[in-house]
Amino acid sequence: MEISAALASDLASLSQALDDPESDLETQLRRLVADIQHAVASYLGLRLTITLRGAEVTLTARERTWSTTDAATSLRLPLAAISPAQPGSHLVLYAGTPGAFVDLAADLSYALALGPATLSLDDDLSDPVSESGIAGLDGQATINQALGVLIERGYTPESAREELSRLADLDGGHLHRAAESIIHSSTYGNRPSEIEPDSGSPQADD
């Protein structure tokens, strides 16, 4: 499995957020890949997407052999089937041999008592994994820091999200840019045009 320095760094940073010396995301990822390789000899890579409050963070990991072998099959597992995950969270596996995931899909369906349409075979071949890494992390960090700035200014979490969306709409829908603007204003004191929460609107959220 390709673990770039950037991916290792992101995994280490996320592991720190767990504050548990027994939990290391890189180790867990390597164990999962090893287990999949034992079960599926032609395994090529995976894409794990976690959806939180409508935002996606996607971890991708691919084998070096994928550069010389085309993915011939894929298996998509909605994470809500195995854990309390938000809709949209899913795992997609790729392999180089047609039908390589048939046994795994059958065992997962039986073990989890899944309906016939829950798992998807070969629906993700047009969207393969291009490189190993984690997408969406930096964007989420900026947005959450901006929400923190707004909360400190007196916005409730709900009205802070509304305000961030409103500012993004003023800027052609660029949520990340709006968040950066809010953060910049907190550091340098120049606030973007906004409605102060104690000057009449927005309404209380409780």
Binding site: S13, L14, Q16, A17, L18, D19, S23, L25, Q28, L29, R31, L32, D35, I36, H38, A39, A41, L48, I50, L52, R53, V57, L59, L77, L79, I82, S83, A85, S89, L91, L104, D107, L108, A111, Q140, N144, Q145, A146, L147, G148, V149, L150, I151, E152, R153, G154, Y155, T156, P157, S159, I183, S186, T187, G189, P197, D198, Q203, A204, D205, D206
Partner: protein, 152 residues
């Protein structure tokens, strides 16, 4: 591996003596083989002595093949659960930590790195996990914000 009578089988003197009074006399043990090696074993027990013959061993070996695949697939499921749960928890904690950074940036006018350093300092000083420090900070700021909205 087969044993017709474990209580008298010299291969497992202690095991045989303990299980025989429970009514276990016949044992058929089959390796669960994969391309990577032995994954485990499937052990079948019988009350009768000499219950398992060559035919039983052959049938058992046929069952052992899909059993090994099922065990491998169970490992994939278990490890997927573990990784997904930890990644989700890490992202949730990180969101709280980033919101706390934003709160400090607004409160004291520092940048993101200094805000994070202050959170880490509080975490060490109070011997409390970083995400719990962040959670407390965010909860306190949210309480104040909600009080402003609901005050007459």
């Amino acid at each position: 591996m087969r044993s017709g009578s474990v209580d008298t089988d010299q291969q497992w003197p202690r095991f045989g003596r303990r299980v025989a009074p429970l009514g276990v006399h016949g044992v058929l043990s089959l390796p669960l083989l994969t391309s990577e090696g032995v994954l485990g074993a499937m052990n079948v027990y019988a009350h009768e002595r000499d219950a398992f013959d060559e035919h039983a061993a052959m049938v058992g070996e046929l069952f052992a093949v899909p059993a090994a695949i099922a065990v491998q697939n169970a490992h994939v499921l278990a490890q997927t659960k573990r990784l997904a749960a930890q990644l989700q928890a890490a992202l949730t904690n990180r969101a709280t930590i980033d919101q706390a950074r934003g709160i400090l940036m607004s409160r004291i006018g520092c940048d993101s790195e200094e805000a994070f350093a202050r959170l880490r300092a509080i975490s060490r000083a109070d011997n409390q996990k970083l995400h719990l420090v962040a959670e407390a900070l965010v909860d306190e700021a949210v309480r104040r914000a909600r009080a402003r909205h609901t005050a007459p």
